[in-house]
């Protein structure tokens, strides 16, 4: 028989845990609904498809959307070969385990550094040399995302069964052929997951880009855009909210970013599930 005070105690604990759940869930839901409620009504076709103009007193975020797309493409194009290449070398070729673990540790540490520090370094390394531009921003993001791509690829490489490699070596295949035809095709899932996570990170990055990529809202073509300064959606959000007091626009951008972030998380989950099924 449980005593009365014990019963009361258990009941209180349950209530407190319930409260914790309510607060956690409540805050999340509140933010999502608040941002969407404030932002969605302000998303118009005009906002999405035009550039800002002082003459016609109009705000459009097309340049910011384009800049975001450009910076994502440029970053991935550079970071993928670097990250995958490094992962393949460290996992398949490197023989000195100690150096490998030092590099792996450094990569872990790198991914925990506050992004504003990358911004500072990026400004000194890239913006001061090639000018404040989307390219300088992309290069900074490359450094930031390198560990993500590398570690995801590495983990995936490690899950490829050794027996596949042995089978291929046993047929007289050289090392590179084994990697290209048997190992890499089996870790596409890790590479794709790394890419999706990186896209999410680039989309949400502001601090590093404030330093390196600039604030312009000019709709350019791809290469011209990379060469010139430009704000991505997150940076534009900051500018409109903090410097111009355009909260409707800021919330519109915020809800777009939030929806995109959810889609990215969803696709990461789907990709992982799909590949897991195939591996079975």
């Amino acid at each position: 028989m449980i005593s009365r005070s014990r019963k009361l105690f258990l009941w209180t604990v349950r209530c407190l845990m319930g409260l914790a759940v309510a607060v956690t869930g409540g805050i999340t839901l509140f933010i999502v609904f608040y941002v969407l409620a404030q932002g969605l009504p302000n998303i118009t076709w005009e906002l999405l498809s035009t550039s800002p103009s002082y003459l016609s007193d109009r705000i459009g975020i097309l340049p910011d959307i384009l800049n975001t797309v450009y910076i994502i493409i440029a970053t991935l194009v550079i970071v993928l070969p670097l990250g995958v290449g490094a992962a393949v070398y460290l996992t398949e070729y490197a023989t000195n385990r100690r150096i490998v673990s030092v590099i792996e540790y450094a990569a872990e540490a790198l991914s925990g550094i506050p992004s504003i520090i990358y911004g500072l370094v990026g400004m000194l390394m890239f913006s001061n040399n090639i000018g404040t531009s989307l390219m300088a921003g992309a290069l900074t993001l490359v450094i930031m995302n390198l560990p993500t791509i590398m570690r995801n690829t590495q983990e995936s490489l490690k899950t490829v069964p050794q027996s596949y490699r042995e089978g291929a070596f046993g047929l007289g295949a050289g090392k590179w052929r084994v990697i290209r035809t048997v190992v890499l095709p089996n870790c596409v899932d890790g590479i794709v997951t790394g890419c999706i996570l990186s896209v999410g990170r680039i989309l949400g990055e502001s601090a590093a880009l404030l330093f390196t990529a600039g604030f312009a809202h000019m709709a350019n073509g791809f290469f011209e855009g990379l060469g010139s300064a430009g704000a991505t959606l997150t940076v534009a959000l900051y500018i409109y909210a903090k410097e111009q007091g355009e909260f409707e626009v800021a919330f519109a951008i915020a809800s777009i970013l939030m929806i995109l972030a959810m889609l990215i998380n969803l696709s990461a989950t789907l990709v992982t599930k799909k590949f897991q099924r195939r591996k079975k």
Binding site: Y164, E166, G167, A168, G170, L171, R177, P185
Partner: protein, 249 residues
């Protein structure tokens, strides 16, 4: 009979521990040689030395010589050697690709691109491995969908596709059911018309059923090597007798 593989004073160390001690053996062409002995006796290590799969392991040191067809295997191109001396592993390890691509992997590796030629090699290899009738209608299907026994015969077909002279088999039936085992054994017996087979087995009956010559390994040494019948009926060494009669192992 001509011997195709000759090992002389072969010693092998994994780091500090010696796994093979002065192995001297001559393996005759177009026959089945069984390597028997308790776990950890060095028989698999010896098998893997013959096509230099041990190269993949760090810290392996080898002394002595192994000659394949009269040439030292350690001084020739390892990929060429593995093309001539193929391997079938303990656990079936088909690649996660189609049945066709599995068999075509070896020939493609060695530069064959012609579609008609590949088709012909794939069919011939699958027929030689006695699995053609079971898979001919689903060559484009993923090989991982096959049963364990079928997968192992596919792996044999994959090894045959590069036209090796020697086939090394590392306990190829230990992961299989009795019926699949029987099929692999029949297959091995047929294949010795064309190929030299060296098979590691834990199964005495299997060694007795299919092999022409048997080598008994113990603690890294080759204790006795001779005709299978003689090894099992009148072993010269007391240790061999104890092992084949099941007194230890």
């Amino acid at each position: 009979m001509n011997s195709i593989i000759t090992a002389q004073d072969l010693c092998l160390w994994y780091g500090q521990s010696q796994a093979l001690k002065n192995i001297n053996i001559q393996i005759p062409e177009r026959s089945i040689t069984a390597l028997i002995g308790p776990s950890g006796c060095g028989k698999s290590t010896f098998l893997k030395t013959l096509n230099r799969m041990n190269d993949l392991i760090n810290g392996v040191r080898i002394t002595g010589t192994v000659e394949y067809n009269g040439t030292d295997i350690f001084s020739q191109d390892v990929n060429q050697l593995r093309k001539e001396v193929g391997m079938v592993f303990q656990k079936p390890n088909p690649f996660p690709m189609s049945i066709y691509d599995n068999v075509a992997y070896g020939p493609r590796t060695h530069g064959i691109r012609n579609k008609a030629q590949l088709d012909e090699i794939v069919e011939r290899s699958l027929r030689d491995a006695a699995i053609w009738d079971e898979v001919k209608d689903r060559l484009k299907k993923n090989a991982l969908g096959l049963s364990g026994g079928q997968q192992q015969r596919l792996c044999i077909a994959r090894a045959l596709a590069v036209q090796p002279k020697v086939l090394l088999m590392d306990e190829p039936t230990s992961a299989l059911d009795p019926i699949s085992t029987l099929k692999i054994e029949e297959l091995a017996t047929n294949l010795k018309e064309t190929y030299t087979i060296v098979i590691v087995t834990h199964n005495m009956q299997q060694a007795l059923r299919i092999s022409d010559r048997t080598a008994f390994f113990l603690l890294g040494e080759l204790v006795e090597y001779g005709d299978t019948e003689q090894i099992f009926s009148q072993p010269a060494d007391k240790r061999t007798e104890d092992y084949v009669t099941g007194r230890f192992g």
